[in-house]
């Protein structure tokens, strides 16, 4: 007969579920904010941003070629060496935000560049400034190209939050390992975890589909 979950197990899973949700939410928000900002810097042709463009472009190229687990360790050890007293959860959020923002930078930059240069030139001949062109011409046309892949990418990243267990964060994957180590049936434990991951990512998937439809219609 299979051993049922005790109230402690349920509490552990609930806590791990909230941690995974928190990592996804905060890491995703950080990745979107950082990726959008860096994407705009890379897209900008202002001379003022030229050194920043080099740093951001180079940084993104390097970070995207490193496995997430290595980025996680790097952030973990660098924060430790710098003497900052930050929790493993915060380190995980920073690592997710860092690697996520490098991918989102590419998506944002690609979406912005997809707007025809003729339309930007038309706006220039009409004496529109850079900010007005971005607001009235580029963003409305590039958002349908940017938002769905960014959200799709975040769904992929929810699964990668499992790697936070490597630095001691008790998220869903780590909770599963703890429960199986305590003798609970592996299939039951990880099937439950599968459902919990689905609960987090499915609403985001539905949101992407709705947003895609809305953006295409608009």
């Amino acid at each position: 007969m299979t051993q049922p979950f005790t109230s402690y197990d349920v509490l552990l899973l609930w806590h791990a579920f909230l941690t995974t949700f928190y990592l996804s939410l905060c890491g995703g928000a950080l990745a979107i904010a950082g990726g959008t900002g860096m994407g705009l810097i890379c897209f900008s042709r202002a001379r003022l941003f030229a050194p920043l463009r080099l740093v951001v472009g180079g940084g993104c190229t390097v970070v995207r070629r490193i496995p997430f687990i290595i980025v996680l360790y790097l952030v973990f050890y660098v924060s430790g060496m710098s003497g900052l007293d930050i929790s493993a959860v915060t380190v995980s959020i920073l690592a997710i935000g860092l690697i996520g923002s490098t991918y989102i930078t590419e998506i944002v930059q690609g979406g912005l560049r997809a707007v025809g240069s003729d339309k930007i030139e038309v706006a220039r001949t009409m004496n529109m400034g850079s900010a007005a062109i971005l607001r009235h011409v580029i963003l409305p046309q590039s958002l349908p190209l940017i938002v769905p892949p960014v959200l799709g990418y975040l769904v992929l990243f929810i699964k990668d939050t499992a790697l936070a267990s490597q630095i001691g964060v008790i998220e869903l994957n780590q909770a599963g390992i703890i429960l199986t180590n305590r003798g609970l049936p592996t299939f039951h434990v990880f099937f439950t975890i599968l459902i919990l991951y689905f609960v987090i990512s499915f609403p985001l998937t539905v949101m992407i589909q709705k947003m895609e439809k809305k953006l295409v219609i608009s």
């Binding site: 025809g116 003729d118 030139e121 529109m128």
Partner: protein, 244 residues
């Protein structure tokens, strides 16, 4: 002193020279048509004049004063006197026709939308596009898009109207109507510089035809005054008409 003077104007795309020293005088209210083979520098003349392609040499004078393309203020000043109709139309697909027409006057000109509506309806009537103001560009035909691009340029009240193939997507009836409109604008003092491969439009509309070849002016002619120096132009126009 002419209204608009090109003096040894040179321009290049990267290392590829396009304009190799163009000298041209244009009077206020004149309709000038630039013709010539592809790559001869016709569109670049328009782009240089409105500051989209930088000059690599020479200068352009407007009412005797050199146009300052190097500063934002100079660019703003010259662009506030011009409007350009692009060959690709360049309409904003996410905006309705009304929003396309009112974007610059409201965002750049800081004008209120309501007083502009009457003017917009008049411009749409002139371009025979009345009743289309709620549509978006993807819902319009090529010819309709072209007329909206012309209407959008007219909303800017340009002193100089630059048009790159402004009748390429129009049927003969619309071409006649648009030619009539351009003639009326010129009579009101609007200077029109157009690039066109439609030799009927060029012949009937132009005060002056400028034939460009390899980044230079090869010949000019004034069809309305029936000058003699247009043998090269006549040959080019005959060849274009034959191809059409």
């Amino acid at each position: 002193m002419s209204y608009l003077e090109f003096r040894n104007v040179q321009a290049s795309y990267g290392t590829n020279p396009i304009l190799l020293g163009v000298d041209l005088d244009i009077e206020k209210g004149e309709i000038v048509s630039l013709i010539g083979p592809s790559g001869s520098g016709k569109s670049t003349m328009l782009r240089v004049l409105i500051g989209l392609t930088p000059l690599s040499g020479g200068e352009i004078r407007l009412e005797g004063k050199p146009i300052d393309y190097a500063t934002k203020a100079g660019l703003r000043a010259v662009r506030s006197r011009m409007a350009m109709v692009f060959q690709s139309f360049g309409l904003f697909d996410h905006l309705t026709v009304e929003q396309n027409l009112l974007l610059a006057p409201t965002v750049v000109g800081k004008k209120k939308r309501a007083p502009l509506l009457e003017e917009m309806h008049e411009v749409l009537r002139l371009t025979d596009m009345q009743g289309h103001d709620g549509k978006r560009p993807p819902q319009l035909s090529g010819g309709q898009k072209q007329r909206i691009a012309i209407a959008r340029a007219l909303m800017l009240h340009p002193e100089i109207l630059l048009m790159d193939e402004p009748t390429s997507a129009l049927d003969p009836i619309r071409i006649a109507a648009m030619s009539d409109l351009f003639g009326k604008l010129a009579a009101q003092g609007v200077t029109i510089i157009q690039v066109s491969h439609n030799m009927d439009v060029v012949r009937s509309l132009s005060d002056r035809i400028v034939l460009m070849h390899d980044g230079r002016i090869a010949a000019t002619a004034s069809p309305k005054r029936d000058q003699d120096d247009n043998a090269a132009i006549a040959r080019f126009m005959a060849a274009e008409a034959h191809q059409a």
